[in-house]
Symmetry: C2
Subunit: 199 residues, 2 copies
C-alpha cells in the first residue's frame, strides 16, 4: 500500500484553502489517502519571525490580488474572510475531537469548515463551528463539550508541536513519501512526484 | 505592438535565476520582448521587514531543498552560490552602465552574470564582473570606470527606487500588461496570461 499524503494547513490560510480544494482528488488519482492535519501557525510564526502575509507592506497588497487570481486560475470559488486573519483554534480543536472518534468524519468536518471560512461564513467561535458540524450530521452539543475537554486541548497542542517538529512552517505543507512541498503553487510538483516517484 | 514583459530580479535570488532561464523563451513564444531589470532587494527588505530566505528558521532549510528540486523540475542547471547571499551591487551597476550604451548588450551581460553566479562563479566584486563582461566581448576597463561614475550610481538608485515604487518587493517579479506576478512558481500563470489576456 502506498503511504498516505499528509496535508498540513491552517484554517486561516488562503493558499491552504486553495490546496484543500485539489489535494483529495490528486491523492485519489494516485491511489493515495490524504490525511488532513490542521495546524495553528501562530506558534510557528513566533519561531520563524514570519508574519501573516496580508499585513506585510507591499507583499500584503500583492497576495490579496494573488489569492483571488490564483483561485480563478484553479477554478475554485473564493471569498476572502472578513475579518482576516481569524482565530481558528475552535475549528482545530473540533477537528481533533471528531478525528479521535471517527477520522473520516474529522476529514469531512475540516472540509466543511474550510469551505465555510472561504465562502463568506464564520468559523471563528465555538458556536459557529458547532453550527457547521450540525449541518453535516455531527452532534453539535457533544462537539461543544468535547472541545472544552482537557484531552482535546492536549491533543491539539501535541499535534501542533509534532507538526512544528516535522518542519511545518507554513500552509499548505504537503508531505509525499517524506518529501515536503510548501504552497498551493507546488501542487504541480506534488502531482509530478506522485506520478514519477521523484526527480 | 504588444507591450514588453518586465522582468525584475535580484542577482542574488535563486528563484529569480530559475525564472531568468525561462522568461525570454516564454516572451518570444508570444512575440514579446523581455526587459530585464535587476534590483537590490536589501532596500525593499528594510521596508517590508522581510529577510533573506535562507536565514529564516525552518523555512531556510526548506527553501534550500526547494531551490535545487525546482531547478531539476524545470530542467535548469543550478549550483547554490557560496557564500550566499552575496553582494550584487557591482553586477547591477555594470548592467545599468551597459544598458545605457546598448540595451541588448545589457541584457546579454545580465544573463552572463546570472548564469555565472548560479554555476559556481563569482560576480560579487567589480573585477569578477569585468571578467565576465570581457568573456562576452564587452570592454572590461570601460566597465570598471563606468560603474564608478556618479551617473551610473545615480541611475542604479533611481531604477531601484522606481521598482520599489512600482511594488516590486521580491524576486522574480514579472509584469505583463500591468499585471504583476511574483515568483518562479508563477511562470505557469504568466504563460496563461500571455495566452489568454487574463482571467
Amino acid at each position: 500500500m502506498p503511504q498516505p499524503i499528509e496535508f498540513f494547513f491552517d484554517f486561516s490560510s488562503p493558499y491552504g484553502y486553495l490546496a484543500s480544494r485539489k489535494i483529495d482528488a490528486l491523492g485519489a488519482k494516485h491511489g493515495r489517502d490524504v490525511i488532513w492535519k490542521p495546524v495553528l501557525l501562530g506558534a510557528v510564526f513566533k519561531l520563524t519571525g514570519m508574519a501573516p502575509l496580508v499585513g506585510i507592506p507591499m507583499k500584503g497588497d500583492y497576495v490579496k490580488r494573488d489569492f483571488a487570481r490564483f483561485a480563478r486560475f484553479l477554478g475554485v470559488d473564493f471569498k476572502m474572510p472578513d475579518p482576516f486573519p481569524f482565530s481558528s483554534i475552535h475549528a482545530v480543536r473540533a477537528f481533533w475531537w471528531q478525528e479521535s472518534l471517527d477520522p473520516k468524519a474529522g476529514h469531512a468536518l475540516a472540509q466543511r469548515l474550510y469551505n465555510t471560512a472561504f465562502s463568506g461564513g464564520d468559523i471563528s467561535n465555538a458556536q459557529a463551528v458547532a453550527e457547521q458540524a450540525r449541518a453535516i450530521g455531527i452532534d453539535g452539543d457533544a462537539l461543544l463539550a468535547g472541545i472544552e475537554s482537557q484531552a482535546v486541548k492536549d491533543r491539539t497542542r501535541v499535534e501542533n508541536d509534532a507538526a512544528i517538529a516535522r518542519g511545518v512552517f507554513g500552509s499548505p505543507y504537503i508531505v509525499v513519501d517524506g518529501e515536503p512541498f510548501w504552497g498551493a503553487d507546488r501542487l504541480d510538483q506534488v502531482a509530478k512526484w506522485l506520478e514519477t516517484g521523484g526527480w
